[in-house]
Subunit: 360 residues, 4 copies
């Protein structure tokens, strides 16, 4: 109950600290007979890893995944799959000054208040490095979904700072997402976004943004009322990503200002299949998927580690000035894109497996 | 794993359908020796119950709670507390026409796709009537928190349709919330909100809105990394409330358009106690409470049951016209207020108990 | 985590005290579309209920079950099934003297040490009355298994005091079990057992015994390594029955004194199907069912409530003499038989559902 | 829900196969601020490891544990503790013949029936090598218990084949247990046991036995009714150990043949503290510890891997003769002793932590 596991039938247990020997995840509940190799996972890790472009941190990590168990002669066996990724480029000396300072916007103070102890190297357990495990597990979840369904999951940058892109979630493609370093399929907006990030970086500052995610071809029926509603599980999965501050599905906060007669999506048939005209619901009604594309957005705050001098406290509760050195992303959003997609796959895979037990 | 239980140390199991014999909740994990009687619970149920005002449904339910177990001579015994609320005013005849029609914005079609069967009376299991159990369990959670901490939880209407109230979460009081039928502590906005709801109702339509919740005096240290972060558990608890479409904490989606140097809340001391100047974080950093007030908002869509005629499908997938009779809230938000507060108490109580095991 | 729920995919939550208003169980995870009515459950409750014969307690309980949710037009809907059984014949006055006395062999002292409070009427939460819920839930589990498999579960009395019956678990039938009040299919042993129980009763004393259970036609493959092995889950399910003191599967404790060359059951085929010659394993190898009949035994201690005067302590830790009045079974074993069968069905049903997710 | 995790507040997740790269365990829920190093764990692993004496397998494993996370500057941080033990001496060639043969008494056939695939090297996931993780996690559980309570856990060999030792669980010491290679504190019986094992080994055969475990100074109040009774959790924890076939607590199966007036342990005071005269209950009443020593026994079958030729089937279901080469313990019991103690510590630690939430 210490919060390091997630899921029911597809269950992941995450461990490791930013600058420890390694980080890892144990995937329990992967069905047997799935073809799986390290290659299936490495590709996704490469999308998340640091040092990919000029707008991401300079930390260099190979993030090479090793499968330690659960796979035999190229196939899963039903046993837990232990994945391990060694940490390499851990400039712990950058953090020596932070042993007794509470960085604003970070969890340093909260961890110390909770546990009475804190691994301050790279943020220790509170670091976004834990999301390596999310992406690795997400690669397995995605592969299960691909083998068993036609579900397609795509995440992309929707907004950086106050620059909003125009994207049609029904048509966006992975190629378009990967066509630029900010992972925004609207090429014009992407250019402005990159510029904004670079400007912030030049000033020792950082910016936030919004990631949108679409899951297409999700069959109707996924989600478990009353407490494990699909949208609720997405909300949780997104808010646990480092720096996430908000979640909305379909028309989200925009629904508040609508009339029911506008917000209700009328049921229609398209080629004999049930659909809705419009998708204010974002593909989930009453906590259960409707068969329409699932569309949601996640708000991320600006990276809290900035070079600009800040006021804060040290462990003796004395006011101090802090200018954070070290290598940090001026905007976390482009690297959050594969994490959002991975968490989406993990939630969908768990609900997909659970749904198999819905009827006699 | 069928999704009808929530929580770890304070765990609730919800059962019942809108027009069944009764609805109920079993609370497991309430510590022994808490003074508890039906009165402690009834007050909160009365705030949620239908038929309270001219802007809520005409359904009349006493919603009288009965404690069936777990309390002895006025105190909890550590045994599970079974709470039962009988359904009374169930005009099932209003629903006979709906047996074979999929109401837009409702879960009818999704339930049928999932289970191959659907209790169509009042929405059956998908009805917001399940939130009776949330409020009942929330009353117990609140009482535990009151006995053990100084935590104060307040929810209120922040927005109805496009009318936004001005409210200072640090100063709002329960009296102000309860001073009008829309539960908005900004009296001027409240008047306009009520008018807007009445206008929608007159047209056979409905409107959405936003509930804000503040939890004050939450000690630093609640929340469990990496997966059971406090904000993530709030997000889930809010999105599982019927009609919820979005969640944001602190500056939420607004964070996206900030610079890090604006969004970071500097640590300061106030009377020797750690605090932050500003509260963009909403009281949670790295998934753990910081000691600052927790502030979040939940978006609700307009009630999907409207009298205005809508296009939809019947069970044979033929297009039909539908005008929903029956008694429905023209806006769910005022009655969602106590539900948001109850779910907040449930999440905080669970994390409060869990946090007692954080250190040796 | 307070211990009042059991199972994963088929999950039961039990509540209620011996002399409270009611006892109940919520069954979550029953697949939709199972035909279910109160009749399906009542039959099993009648086998467990008190007052059935001259060797059981004189307490009279109709033990009439009421389905409060989860069933619609005769079929399960996938929603939780709440079952409620009212308590009726609660002679609480019999227990007034026990408010401040610790009955030997009972949990009175332990509950008080744990919770600082104790419902002393009929043993409160520690009473075997909680097994009403086990039997009710077991009836649903049995029905699921019958619909989906050919599994047959039979429990019966194997030993009373030092009288052991001769029974072939491969051939025993429900009729033979129900042919006498002690539920022992060996008629000659049954007569002696009944006499032994009556003698004990006449002396104000009680006796123990052993229940054996066989599950036939269990498919190979049920059970989840490493921690949820089928035999381990049976062991837990049996030891949590009131008064249970031991569990053994297959040759059990007898295996200790065997050579490997004796204890190993050679694999053979019978009509083209894999089987073993002999069944020392009791149908489970490495925690997974082998397809052979599952056979295990559960030891029960004598009913601790006896009329014979005993030495004990009161709540002030003063030595007192105690002679327990009230109506108690002189031997719990005959009424434990349906409880053992019910718990077996619950464990098998959960593992049956879980096993559906074993392979891609 | 795939069965590779155990516990609630102190929760372990086990992974790895006998001849894979490594085996491991993730411990989640260890409170922060416990002093912990690899030394604390290595000592217990050394007691379990193969190749310790002439009566254990010739496989040589250093079983050197590595702590990969959760410890900082010598103390636990509240983060999950990942423990990894590399496999070294894996003579996989010994197993090439077994790829398509079902070894009697082993899980080969059951795994294949369940998963449709099987890692046959050393038994893969079904191997007792998984108990390395149990012992490693048990060392942490023991340390928590030592820091917080006076609980002492001791396991020892009680019976080998038909040789029973005479041991007083109230007085037995670790030194006496470790004074001989069979881990039986009755020196005379130990000699005969060793001889019996050597005789079986000489004949290419194996023998079973019984391990007894005592936990002293357990406070009254541990255990959670109705489903997570302390004795039930012990039963499960013991039956999941490889080769375990039975469990009994206190007088166990012997209770069946007692009268209530014999079996009830009268409450008395000893130096002002509540105790019982006699301990037929084995320290648990109604599923909750009474404060008396907890005493239980676990039956183990003979090692199923024997050199003596056996009849069995191959994967084509043809009868074949099998003589198992490789290096196997002629009796698993001496090496099971530290595993029983470890599982006992794990169960007690979990219940110890859970009990802290019993009262307001």
């Amino acid at each position: 109950m210490a919060g390091n596991s997630l899921g029911t039938l597809f269950r992941i247990s995450n461990w490791g600290e930013s600058h420890g020997k390694a980080v890892g995840v144990v995937v329990d509940g992967c069905p047997a007979l799935l073809e799986l190799s390290e290659k299936d996972i490495q590709g996704e890790l490469d999308r998340r890893k640091p040092g990919q472009s000029r707008i991401s941190t300079g930390r260099q990590e190979a993030d090479k995944v090793e499968i330690l168990s659960g796979v035999f002669q190229g196939k899963t066996t039903g046993a837990p799959i232990a994945l391990l990724i060694h940490n390499q480029d851990t400039s712990s000396k950058d953090y020596d000054d932070l042993a007794r300072v509470y960085r604003p916007g970070h969890a340093d103070y909260c961890y110390e208040a909770k546990y009475g102890i804190r691994n301050h190297y790279g943020g220790g357990r509170s670091s976004a490095r834990a999301t390596v495990g999310h992406v690795a597990a997400g690669a397995i979840a995605s592969k299960i979904l691909r083998e068993r369904s036609a579900i397609e999951i795509l995440a992309y940058t929707r907004q950086i700072h106050d620059i909003e892109a125009r994207i049609d979630p029904d048509r966006v493609s992975l190629d378009a997402v990967e066509s630029n370093i900010v992972r925004c399929p609207d090429a014009q907006a992407a250019e402005r976004m990159i510029r904004r990030i670079e400007e912030a970086q030049a000033q020792g500052d950082s910016v936030g943004g919004v990631v949108e995610c679409v899951a297409r071809n999700v069959p109707a029926g996924l989600g478990e009322p009353v407490f494990d509603k699909l949208n609720a599980d997405f909300a949780k999965a997104m808010l646990l990503i480092n720096a996430a501050k908000g979640f909305e599905i379909g028309s989200g906060f925009g629904c508040a200002a609508l009339y029911g007669s506008q917000c209700n999506d009328p049921f229609i048939t398209i080629k004999g299949k049930v659909a809705t005209a419009g998708n204010h619901s974002g593909g989930v009604l009453g906590g259960i998927s409707s068969g329409m594309p699932i569309v949601f957005r996640v708000a991320f705050k600006p990276t809290p580690s900035i070079a600009i001098e800040q006021d804060t406290l040290n462990a003796d509760l004395e006011p101090v000035k802090l200018s954070i050195r070290g290598r940090h992303d001026p905007c976390i959003v482009p690297r959050a894109v594969p994490v959002v997609a991975a968490m989406t796959a993990i939630v969908l895979c768990d609900h997909f497996l659970r749904n198999q037990n819905a009827r006699l």
